[in-house]
Protein backbone atom coordinates (compact mmCIF):
# COMPACT_ATOMS: atom_id res chain seq x y z
CA UNK A 1 0.00 0.00 0.00
CA UNK A 2 1.27 3.46 -0.91
CA UNK A 3 2.27 5.85 1.84
CA UNK A 4 -0.28 8.61 2.39
CA UNK A 5 1.98 11.24 3.90
CA UNK A 6 1.73 14.67 2.36
CA UNK A 7 4.11 17.57 2.87
CA UNK A 8 2.16 20.81 2.65
CA UNK A 9 4.10 24.04 2.23
CA UNK A 10 1.48 26.73 2.77
CA UNK A 11 2.19 30.09 4.46
CA UNK A 12 -1.48 30.88 5.10
CA UNK A 13 -2.46 29.12 8.32
CA UNK A 14 -6.20 29.13 7.65
CA UNK A 15 -5.80 27.56 4.20
CA UNK A 16 -3.22 25.08 5.55
CA UNK A 17 -5.62 23.95 8.29
CA UNK A 18 -8.47 23.52 5.81
CA UNK A 19 -6.31 21.44 3.48
CA UNK A 20 -4.98 19.33 6.36
CA UNK A 21 -8.47 18.70 7.77
CA UNK A 22 -9.88 17.83 4.36
CA UNK A 23 -7.05 15.45 3.55
CA UNK A 24 -7.40 13.85 7.00
CA UNK A 25 -11.02 13.01 6.14
CA UNK A 26 -9.56 11.10 3.20
CA UNK A 27 -6.95 9.14 5.17
CA UNK A 28 -3.98 11.36 4.38
CA UNK A 29 -1.52 12.48 7.03
CA UNK A 30 -0.32 16.01 6.36
CA UNK A 31 2.83 17.62 7.69
CA UNK A 32 2.48 21.39 7.55
CA UNK A 33 5.28 23.83 6.84
CA UNK A 34 4.68 27.57 6.67
CA UNK A 35 8.14 28.46 5.37
CA UNK A 36 10.64 26.94 2.93
CA UNK A 37 13.07 26.26 5.83
CA UNK A 38 10.42 24.32 7.74
CA UNK A 39 9.59 22.34 4.62
CA UNK A 40 13.24 21.41 4.01
CA UNK A 41 13.60 20.33 7.67
CA UNK A 42 10.45 18.19 7.44
CA UNK A 43 11.54 16.69 4.12
CA UNK A 44 14.86 15.77 5.70
CA UNK A 45 13.19 13.82 8.51
CA UNK A 46 10.19 12.17 6.87
CA UNK A 47 9.07 10.24 3.81
CA UNK A 48 6.38 11.77 1.65
CA UNK A 49 4.30 10.51 -1.22
CA UNK A 50 3.48 13.99 -2.49
CA UNK A 51 4.38 17.64 -1.89
CA UNK A 52 1.73 20.33 -2.17
CA UNK A 53 3.18 23.81 -2.17
CA UNK A 54 2.43 27.51 -2.55
CA UNK A 55 4.80 29.53 -4.74
CA UNK A 56 4.37 32.80 -2.89
CA UNK A 57 6.35 32.34 0.31
CA UNK A 58 7.65 34.85 2.83
CA UNK A 59 11.42 35.05 2.54
CA UNK A 60 12.00 32.68 -0.38
CA UNK A 61 10.35 32.13 -3.70
CA UNK A 62 8.77 28.76 -4.23
CA UNK A 63 10.98 28.21 -7.27
CA UNK A 64 14.11 28.53 -5.09
CA UNK A 65 12.66 25.95 -2.72
CA UNK A 66 11.94 23.61 -5.64
CA UNK A 67 15.54 23.87 -6.88
CA UNK A 68 16.92 23.13 -3.43
CA UNK A 69 14.46 20.31 -2.83
CA UNK A 70 15.23 18.80 -6.21
CA UNK A 71 18.96 18.74 -5.45
CA UNK A 72 18.34 16.06 -2.76
CA UNK A 73 18.63 12.85 -4.77
CA UNK A 74 16.06 10.74 -2.91
CA UNK A 75 13.50 13.54 -2.75
CA UNK A 76 13.69 14.40 -6.42
CA UNK A 77 11.26 11.62 -7.31
CA UNK A 78 8.48 12.84 -5.03
CA UNK A 79 5.66 14.36 -7.14
CA UNK A 80 5.08 18.06 -6.54
CA UNK A 81 1.75 19.84 -6.94
CA UNK A 82 1.91 23.62 -7.16
CA UNK A 83 -1.13 24.95 -5.30
CA UNK A 84 -0.89 28.70 -5.56
CA UNK A 85 -2.68 32.01 -5.65
CA UNK A 86 -0.20 33.21 -8.27
CA UNK A 87 -1.69 33.14 -11.74
CA UNK A 88 1.01 32.12 -14.22
CA UNK A 89 0.78 32.45 -17.98
CA UNK A 90 3.45 29.86 -18.60
CA UNK A 91 4.79 27.13 -16.39
CA UNK A 92 8.16 26.58 -18.10
CA UNK A 93 10.00 27.59 -14.91
CA UNK A 94 8.86 24.30 -13.36
CA UNK A 95 10.35 22.09 -16.06
CA UNK A 96 12.55 19.31 -14.66
CA UNK A 97 11.65 20.17 -11.06
CA UNK A 98 9.29 17.26 -10.45
CA UNK A 99 6.17 19.43 -10.78
CA UNK A 100 3.28 17.25 -11.90
CA UNK A 101 0.48 19.77 -11.77
CA UNK A 102 -0.22 23.47 -11.36
CA UNK A 103 -3.44 24.37 -9.50
CA UNK A 104 -4.62 27.96 -9.18
CA UNK A 105 -6.24 28.26 -5.73
CA UNK A 106 -9.18 30.53 -6.65
CA UNK A 107 -10.24 27.93 -9.26
CA UNK A 108 -9.46 24.86 -7.19
CA UNK A 109 -11.79 23.21 -4.70
CA UNK A 110 -10.43 20.99 -1.96
CA UNK A 111 -12.04 18.07 -3.79
CA UNK A 112 -10.08 18.91 -6.95
CA UNK A 113 -6.86 19.12 -4.92
CA UNK A 114 -7.62 15.73 -3.36
CA UNK A 115 -8.25 14.19 -6.80
CA UNK A 116 -4.89 15.52 -8.04
CA UNK A 117 -3.08 14.15 -4.99
CA UNK A 118 -4.77 10.75 -5.42
CA UNK A 119 -3.75 10.65 -9.08
CA UNK A 120 -0.09 11.49 -8.50
CA UNK A 121 0.32 9.38 -5.37
CA UNK A 122 -1.08 6.36 -7.21
CA UNK A 123 1.06 6.99 -10.30
CA UNK A 124 4.32 7.55 -8.47
Amino acid sequence: MKSKNILLLEPDKSIATSVKDYLALNQYVTSQAHTAEEAIALADKGTYSCIVMELVLGAHSGIEFLHEFHSYGDLAKVPVIIFTSQLMQNNNAFNNLGVKEYLYKPNTSLLKLLESINKHVNNS
Partner: protein
Amino acid sequence: MALRQHDKLDASALFYTLAEDLKTPLVRMAYKAELVGHDKNISDIRLNIRTTLELLDAYLLGAKNASQTNLVLEPVSPSALAADAAYGLKEYAKDFSCNLIVDVPNNSSFALTHRAIVLAALSAIGKVFIEAQSAIASTKKSVTIASYKTQNGYSLGIFCTEESLVINKKQLERARSQVGIASRPFVGLTNGASSQLFVAEQLLQGLQTSIRTARRGKLSGLVIDLIPTAQLTLV
Protein backbone atom coordinates in the same frame (compact mmCIF):
# COMPACT_ATOMS: atom_id res chain seq x y z
CA MET B 1 -4.41 68.96 -13.19
CA ALA B 2 -1.23 67.00 -12.57
CA LEU B 3 -2.35 66.35 -9.01
CA ARG B 4 -5.71 65.07 -10.19
CA GLN B 5 -4.00 62.67 -12.64
CA HIS B 6 -1.73 61.47 -9.82
CA ASP B 7 -4.74 60.87 -7.51
CA LYS B 8 -6.46 58.83 -10.20
CA LEU B 9 -3.40 56.62 -10.73
CA ASP B 10 -3.10 56.02 -7.01
CA ALA B 11 -6.73 55.00 -6.79
CA SER B 12 -6.40 52.43 -9.58
CA ALA B 13 -3.16 51.07 -8.11
CA LEU B 14 -4.86 50.76 -4.75
CA PHE B 15 -7.85 49.01 -6.26
CA TYR B 16 -5.57 46.59 -8.11
CA THR B 17 -3.86 45.65 -4.84
CA LEU B 18 -7.20 45.47 -3.07
CA ALA B 19 -8.61 43.11 -5.71
CA GLU B 20 -5.50 40.91 -5.48
CA ASP B 21 -5.62 40.80 -1.67
CA LEU B 22 -9.35 40.12 -1.47
CA LYS B 23 -8.79 36.76 -3.15
CA THR B 24 -7.07 35.24 -0.09
CA PRO B 25 -9.92 35.70 2.43
CA LEU B 26 -12.37 34.52 -0.22
CA VAL B 27 -10.33 31.35 -0.81
CA ARG B 28 -10.18 30.81 2.97
CA MET B 29 -13.97 31.12 3.19
CA ALA B 30 -14.49 28.81 0.22
CA TYR B 31 -12.40 26.08 1.86
CA LYS B 32 -14.06 26.45 5.25
CA ALA B 33 -17.44 26.19 3.51
CA GLU B 34 -16.32 23.09 1.61
CA LEU B 35 -15.26 21.48 4.88
CA VAL B 36 -18.65 22.15 6.46
CA GLY B 37 -20.61 20.10 3.94
CA HIS B 38 -22.52 20.06 0.69
CA ASP B 39 -26.08 21.13 1.41
CA LYS B 40 -27.84 23.73 -0.77
CA ASN B 41 -26.95 26.68 1.48
CA ILE B 42 -23.27 25.77 1.50
CA SER B 43 -23.34 25.25 -2.27
CA ASP B 44 -24.86 28.73 -2.65
CA ILE B 45 -22.13 30.25 -0.47
CA ARG B 46 -19.42 28.48 -2.48
CA LEU B 47 -20.95 29.55 -5.80
CA ASN B 48 -21.12 33.17 -4.66
CA ILE B 49 -17.51 33.08 -3.51
CA ARG B 50 -16.42 31.49 -6.80
CA THR B 51 -18.33 34.10 -8.81
CA THR B 52 -16.68 36.90 -6.82
CA LEU B 53 -13.23 35.34 -7.29
CA GLU B 54 -13.83 35.07 -11.04
CA LEU B 55 -14.96 38.71 -11.15
CA LEU B 56 -11.80 39.81 -9.31
CA ASP B 57 -9.61 37.72 -11.62
CA ALA B 58 -11.37 39.15 -14.67
CA TYR B 59 -10.85 42.68 -13.33
CA LEU B 60 -7.15 41.99 -12.66
CA LEU B 61 -6.68 40.48 -16.12
CA GLY B 62 -8.35 43.51 -17.70
CA ALA B 63 -6.42 46.01 -15.56
CA LYS B 64 -3.14 44.32 -16.42
CA ASN B 65 -3.82 44.23 -20.14
CA ALA B 66 -5.84 47.42 -20.71
CA SER B 67 -2.76 49.53 -21.37
CA GLN B 68 -0.74 46.84 -23.17
CA THR B 69 -0.08 47.57 -26.80
CA ASN B 70 1.59 44.26 -27.54
CA LEU B 71 -0.90 41.64 -26.44
CA VAL B 72 0.01 38.23 -27.77
CA LEU B 73 -2.90 37.14 -29.94
CA GLU B 74 -3.46 33.60 -31.13
CA PRO B 75 -5.81 31.85 -33.52
CA VAL B 76 -8.85 30.74 -31.56
CA SER B 77 -12.01 28.99 -32.67
CA PRO B 78 -15.04 31.14 -31.73
CA SER B 79 -17.10 27.94 -31.45
CA ALA B 80 -14.61 26.44 -29.01
CA LEU B 81 -14.67 29.67 -26.98
CA ALA B 82 -18.47 29.52 -26.83
CA ALA B 83 -18.30 25.89 -25.68
CA ASP B 84 -15.68 26.72 -23.03
CA ALA B 85 -17.78 29.63 -21.74
CA ALA B 86 -20.82 27.36 -21.57
CA TYR B 87 -18.85 24.79 -19.59
CA GLY B 88 -17.71 27.45 -17.11
CA LEU B 89 -21.25 28.84 -16.74
CA LYS B 90 -22.97 25.46 -16.39
CA GLU B 91 -23.06 25.42 -12.59
CA TYR B 92 -24.04 29.09 -12.40
CA ALA B 93 -26.95 28.56 -14.80
CA LYS B 94 -28.08 25.50 -12.88
CA ASP B 95 -28.16 27.52 -9.67
CA PHE B 96 -30.50 30.03 -11.32
CA SER B 97 -32.59 27.26 -12.95
CA CYS B 98 -31.68 28.67 -16.33
CA ASN B 99 -31.27 26.52 -19.43
CA LEU B 100 -27.99 27.16 -21.24
CA ILE B 101 -28.05 26.69 -25.02
CA VAL B 102 -24.93 26.64 -27.21
CA ASP B 103 -25.55 27.70 -30.80
CA VAL B 104 -22.39 27.38 -32.89
CA PRO B 105 -21.78 26.56 -36.55
CA ASN B 106 -20.57 23.09 -37.48
CA ASN B 107 -17.64 24.27 -39.57
CA SER B 108 -14.64 25.27 -37.52
CA SER B 109 -13.03 28.62 -38.30
CA PHE B 110 -10.53 30.79 -36.46
CA ALA B 111 -10.25 34.34 -35.22
CA LEU B 112 -7.14 36.14 -34.08
CA THR B 113 -7.66 37.12 -30.47
CA HIS B 114 -6.62 36.71 -26.84
CA ARG B 115 -8.35 33.57 -25.59
CA ALA B 116 -8.29 34.31 -21.84
CA ILE B 117 -9.55 37.88 -22.27
CA VAL B 118 -12.45 36.98 -24.56
CA LEU B 119 -13.42 34.00 -22.43
CA ALA B 120 -13.44 36.10 -19.24
CA ALA B 121 -15.48 38.84 -20.94
CA LEU B 122 -17.97 36.37 -22.41
CA SER B 123 -18.36 34.60 -19.07
CA ALA B 124 -19.00 37.92 -17.30
CA ILE B 125 -21.73 38.83 -19.81
CA GLY B 126 -23.17 35.33 -19.47
CA LYS B 127 -23.48 35.68 -15.71
CA VAL B 128 -25.38 38.96 -16.10
CA PHE B 129 -27.85 37.36 -18.52
CA ILE B 130 -28.33 34.24 -16.39
CA GLU B 131 -28.93 36.24 -13.24
CA ALA B 132 -31.31 38.58 -15.05
CA GLN B 133 -33.47 35.59 -16.04
CA SER B 134 -34.18 34.91 -12.37
CA ALA B 135 -36.40 38.00 -12.31
CA ILE B 136 -38.60 36.53 -15.05
CA ALA B 137 -41.73 34.66 -14.11
CA SER B 138 -41.47 32.27 -17.07
CA THR B 139 -40.69 28.65 -16.37
CA LYS B 140 -38.68 28.47 -19.58
CA LYS B 141 -35.69 30.55 -18.57
CA SER B 142 -32.91 30.20 -21.09
CA VAL B 143 -29.76 31.93 -22.29
CA THR B 144 -28.03 31.20 -25.59
CA ILE B 145 -24.30 31.40 -26.17
CA ALA B 146 -23.75 31.83 -29.89
CA SER B 147 -20.90 32.30 -32.31
CA TYR B 148 -21.51 33.18 -35.94
CA LYS B 149 -19.87 34.65 -39.01
CA THR B 150 -20.47 38.31 -39.81
CA GLN B 151 -19.48 40.57 -42.72
CA ASN B 152 -16.27 41.60 -40.96
CA GLY B 153 -15.37 38.47 -39.06
CA TYR B 154 -17.07 36.64 -36.24
CA SER B 155 -19.35 37.56 -33.38
CA LEU B 156 -19.51 35.75 -30.12
CA GLY B 157 -22.25 36.63 -27.71
CA ILE B 158 -24.95 35.93 -25.18
CA PHE B 159 -28.61 36.08 -26.16
CA CYS B 160 -32.06 35.78 -24.65
CA THR B 161 -35.63 36.51 -25.77
CA GLU B 162 -36.64 40.12 -26.38
CA GLU B 163 -39.04 40.00 -23.39
CA SER B 164 -36.33 38.91 -20.99
CA LEU B 165 -33.67 41.27 -22.31
CA VAL B 166 -32.52 43.72 -19.66
CA ILE B 167 -29.94 45.65 -21.70
CA ASN B 168 -30.73 47.34 -24.98
CA LYS B 169 -28.53 49.71 -26.99
CA LYS B 170 -29.87 52.83 -25.28
CA GLN B 171 -29.37 51.39 -21.80
CA LEU B 172 -25.85 50.27 -22.69
CA GLU B 173 -24.90 53.75 -23.92
CA ARG B 174 -26.47 55.46 -20.91
CA ALA B 175 -24.73 53.09 -18.49
CA ARG B 176 -21.35 53.76 -20.15
CA SER B 177 -21.82 57.47 -19.54
CA GLN B 178 -22.74 56.88 -15.90
CA VAL B 179 -20.00 54.49 -14.84
CA GLY B 180 -18.35 55.76 -11.67
CA ILE B 181 -21.14 58.31 -11.19
CA ALA B 182 -24.33 56.31 -10.63
CA SER B 183 -24.44 53.51 -8.07
CA ARG B 184 -26.46 51.38 -10.49
CA PRO B 185 -25.63 52.45 -14.05
CA PHE B 186 -27.78 49.63 -15.47
CA VAL B 187 -31.13 50.27 -13.84
CA GLY B 188 -32.59 46.97 -15.01
CA LEU B 189 -29.87 44.87 -13.40
CA THR B 190 -29.62 43.61 -9.86
CA ASN B 191 -27.00 45.09 -7.55
CA GLY B 192 -23.55 43.82 -8.35
CA ALA B 193 -24.29 42.83 -11.94
CA SER B 194 -23.21 46.15 -13.49
CA SER B 195 -19.59 45.55 -12.53
CA GLN B 196 -19.59 42.28 -14.51
CA LEU B 197 -20.41 44.23 -17.68
CA PHE B 198 -17.90 46.99 -17.00
CA VAL B 199 -15.20 44.45 -16.26
CA ALA B 200 -16.06 42.79 -19.60
CA GLU B 201 -15.73 46.20 -21.30
CA GLN B 202 -12.40 46.84 -19.59
CA LEU B 203 -11.13 43.42 -20.69
CA LEU B 204 -12.08 44.15 -24.29
CA GLN B 205 -10.39 47.57 -24.25
CA GLY B 206 -7.09 45.74 -24.46
CA LEU B 207 -8.27 44.22 -27.75
CA GLN B 208 -9.50 47.62 -29.02
CA THR B 209 -13.07 46.40 -29.11
CA SER B 210 -16.16 46.66 -26.95
CA ILE B 211 -19.48 45.00 -26.27
CA ARG B 212 -22.28 45.82 -28.70
CA THR B 213 -25.94 44.95 -28.84
CA ALA B 214 -27.06 42.50 -31.52
CA ARG B 215 -30.01 40.46 -32.73
CA ARG B 216 -29.95 36.85 -33.85
CA GLY B 217 -33.24 35.51 -35.15
CA LYS B 218 -35.81 36.17 -32.47
CA LEU B 219 -33.16 36.64 -29.81
CA SER B 220 -31.41 39.80 -28.61
CA GLY B 221 -28.16 40.12 -26.77
CA LEU B 222 -24.65 41.45 -26.35
CA VAL B 223 -21.78 40.36 -28.57
CA ILE B 224 -18.02 40.66 -28.95
CA ASP B 225 -16.61 41.03 -32.46
CA LEU B 226 -13.55 38.99 -33.41
CA ILE B 227 -11.14 39.43 -36.31
CA PRO B 228 -10.80 36.42 -38.66
CA THR B 229 -7.46 34.78 -39.43
CA ALA B 230 -7.23 34.32 -43.17
CA GLN B 231 -4.39 31.80 -43.22
CA LEU B 232 -6.03 29.45 -40.76
CA THR B 233 -9.40 29.70 -42.45
CA LEU B 234 -7.72 28.39 -45.62
CA VAL B 235 -6.19 25.48 -43.69
